[in-house]
């Protein structure tokens, strides 16, 4: 028995800010004062509040230390662990309530959250199967294998209303039922851990923080549909996730929870990893399977659906990481428990990755139906700079931009679609008044042009044409008719592409045109970028009232575009200006602006 536990976040975010070094240092310092046997140091998965990393929590007090450096470790050990005095200076200030400390669950970041898929992230050591088992891990698998028939499992899954968290929101129970209904024989269970949505990192955190939950759920799925082999297709860009998954698989095999005759029930199931190689389209289900087969990851038309003819031509189910992470809890707590959270059609919770111009960047898990405003303002803390939040982007390259005046929309599959965006995998990137919406649309199209696999013409050629029109707009070369052409082209690509990559690629354009048409018109008609992002449309100008005539800008201009005498107002010759921005950087009076 240890008297204290120190939890150090070992998620990718905190890892990059030296959390491994903190663990080492912690152990050294504990040894130095002879506390090694009394205090246990645990490296966990992500706590979710990446903005405060690296994070260290000390129990039983629940002291939440933020922004810890290896240099702070000695103080924590000497003061807190040896003398029992919490180091207030290092605490997350929101947990400090006068002389007392509040528990984490009372802070505004955590109190609206409901952590189910993330239940173990930041709580257990992901490299230890014993800790997973200690939190009821593999109990659901045992229950399924010993007490439930495959039909019982499907019944629970259907009743729970769980829908795929990978983007499309297809009912999981129904998918499993299709695969189960196929004749007996070789079948496969796959996990989509390709997480291609830029701005989404919940799957990564689950894999890094609770890998066994995914393995357990896949085994349950295997039992249900009658498969004995699983594959996890994981991005090669996630080295820590790959490593922890491999450790977890090895441990589960050692414990007889994967492999032959699991728990003496005669059920065989094993899982192998397959690494992705950097192609977004491989997140699409048919492309993912083609890629596991060792080919170019091109999608193919459906039907036949993978449940009928999937990997190696055999019946296959594919689910997302977060979808799987919910499964063991649903089995243990029942469908009614799951339904009690969320909305009628979107049950349970959803994890969102908060990023961009928001104070509390990180991962949050909230009941479906929570409003965007609660997520962005209450939990996320709004924009860090005090600037106005303009929009939030959900659904990545397939989604859309939601303007701030629609932030009272509840987040569930239907509501988001109704306002021209989509749930996607749960990335939520916040933009403020400094972000140009036309530029953002162009950014996404640049992405889809690069990631289009090239198999079908509407997507391969159409996305490029859309990108070209957007470029024309951001460079001030477009006419008003181009906006009509753009819209028409978008509809065309949407309707005629082979897979959802092309079918959804125009969404960022269409949604920004719907909500931010004024910005498009400013670029096209007035040849101005209201936010000053589009370089070609920028002009640097000197505000005469603020200019003191110090000549600093003139001396620093590399192309002699600035004119003016000492102590007199200066001016910029826009025909010579190369828009390098040096003058604005150098000016000490804020007299130079771009517009």
């Amino acid at each position: 028995m240890y008297r204290s536990h120190i939890l150090v976040c070992g998620g990718t975010g905190c890892h990059s800010s030296r959390s491994a070094e903190i663990v080492e240092k912690m152990q050294e310092e504990l040894a130095a004062v002879g506390l090694t046997d009394e205090v246990q140091v645990v490296q966990t998965g992500c706590f979710g509040l990446c903005a405060l990393g690296p994070i260290v929590i000390v129990y039983p007090e629940g002291a939440f230390y933020s922004h810890i450096t290896p240099e702070d470790v000695k103080e924590i050990v000497d003061e807190h662990l040896l003398k029992g005095r919490i180091v207030k200076r290092l605490l997350y200030q929101e947990t400090l309530d006068g002389d007392n400390i509040k528990s984490l669950n009372e802070t505004s970041f955590y109190n609206k959250q409901k952590r189910i898929a993330l239940r173990n992230c930041g709580v257990i050591n992901p490299e230890s199967i014993d800790e997973y088992i200690g939190t009821d891990g593999y109990l659901a698998l045992a229950k399924v294998l010993t007490e439930m028939t495959p039909d019982d499992v499907i019944d629970v899954m259907l009743k729970s209303g769980l829908r795929g968290r990978g983007g499309a929101g297809f009912p999981t129970g129904m998918k499993w039922n299709f695969a189960k209904a196929q004749p007996k024989g070789q079948k496969y269970v796959c996990c989509n851990a390709d997480e291609g949505d830029p701005g989404a990192f919940m799957d990564r955190s689950i894999l890094e923080g609770d890998p066994h939950a995914v393995l357990e759920a896949m085994a349950i799925a295997g039992y249900t549909i009658g498969a004995n082999q699983g594959y996890i297709y994981v991005r090669a860009e996630y080295p820590i996730a790959v490593k922890r998954l491999q450790i977890a698989i090895n441990q589960a095999r050692e414990y007889g929870l994967l492999g032959k005759n699991i728990l003496n029930t005669g059920f065989d199931f094993d899982i192998d990893l397959r690494l992705g190689a950097g192609a977004f389209v491989c997140g699409e289900e048919t492309a993912l399977m083609t890629s596991i087969e060792g080919n170019r990851g091109e999608p193919r038309p459906r039907p036949p659906f993978p449940a009928v003819k999937g990997l190696f031509g055999k019946p296959t189910i594919l689910n997302n990481v977060e979808t799987y992470a919910n499964v063991p809890r649903i089995i243990l707590n029942g469908a009614d428990w799951f339904r009690s959270m969320g909305t009628e059609k979107s049950t349970g919770t959803k994890v969102f990755a908060l990023g961009g111009k928001i104070k509390n960047t990180g991962l949050v898990e909230v009941p479906m139906g929570t409003t965007m405003r609660e997520i962005i303002e209450d939990i996320g803390g709004g924009a860090p700079s005090g600037k106005k939040v303009k929009a939030a982007q959900t659904g990545g390259p397939s989604g859309g931009c939601i303007p701030a005046d629609l932030f009272d929309t509840p987040v569930d599959f239907e509501s988001l679609q109704a306002i021209g965006s989509m749930m996607g995998s749960g990335g939520l990137v916040v933009m403020d008044e400094d972000n140009c919406m036309v530029d953002i649309a162009k950014f996404f199209l640049d992405f889809t042009v690069g990631e289009s696999c090239g198999k079908c013409a509407p997507c391969r050629i159409g996305t490029r044409r859309i990108y070209e029109i957007l470029t024309k707009i951001t460079e001030g070369e477009a006419e008003m008719e181009d906006l009509d052409t753009l819209k028409e082209l978008c509809m065309h690509v949407k309707q005629n592409s082979l897979c959802a990559l092309g079918q959804t690629a125009p969404n960022p354009v269409l949604s920004t045109m719907q909500y931010f048409m004024d910005e498009y018109i400013a670029h096209v008609r007035d040849k101005k970028c209201p936010t000053g992002v589009c370089q070609k449309l920028l002009q640097y100008v000197i505000i005469p009232e603020k200019c003191t005539g110090c000549t600093l800008c003139k001396r620093n201009c590399p192309v002699e575009a600035i004119d003016g005498k000492v102590k007199e107002k200066h001016t910029i010759d826009t025909s010579k200006c190369i828009k390098c921005g040096v003058c604005m950087e150098k000016c000490r009076f804020g007299a130079i602006i771009k517009q």
């Binding site: 701005g199 860009e237 950097g278 961009g356």
Partner: protein, 166 residues
């Protein structure tokens, strides 16, 4: 996508060849062997020149065209040697809205190379990458397996110096 042919002259060693052959033997006959073989072959050689692709095609009994088709499809496979340290600057959404472009520009300026190129001493190459999944720390870059977050362009020289000294 990067260029479709290999520019550098191939100089594989006997040990590399041996490792490649062992790798092919290990995977021969397995369904879907090509991707893992290519990934590990790239670990051995650092890139996938036509000579290596040829050996894999012969070893696994598939056509060179098929191997080449797969190699050029995935961004992770490279036909050209990369630096000892591969710098990947994230150009995902969260990083993009936090001015990742300035970080990328600074890397290019410090090393005097373009995206996709390698420094003459073979130490560094630069790539723009997809979301690295650390959006909470945007803007982010990775050097081999190390992640650096909350970057401002002025951090770059110091970070690069660490690798230059190693």
């Amino acid at each position: 996508m990067s260029s479709q042919t290999t520019a550098a002259v191939f100089t594989g060693t006997a040990e590399q060849k041996e490792a490649l052959m062992a790798l092919i033997d290990e995977h021969r006959g397995q369904p879907g062997a090509l991707m893992p073989v290519l990934q590990k072959a790239q670990d051995i050689y650092g890139y996938l020149p036509i000579e290596v692709q040829n050996a894999i095609a012969e070893g696994l009994g598939i056509s060179l065209a098929e191997v080449y088709g797969v190699v050029t499809f995935y961004a992770q496979f490279s036909l050209n040697p990369k630096g000892k340290y591969v710098i990947g600057v994230c150009m995902g959404t969260a990083c993009y809205v936090k001015n990742a472009q300035a970080v990328l520009d600074r890397c290019k300026k410090e090393l005097n190379i373009e995206v996709g190129e390698c420094t003459p001493d073979g130490l560094f190459s630069i790539q723009d990458t997809r979301c690295l999944g650390c959006c909470g720390l945007a803007p982010v870059m990775m050097i081999n397996d190390d992640v650096y977050g909350r970057l401002v362009p002025d951090d770059i020289p110091g970070i690069l110096a660490k690798y230059q000294q190693q």
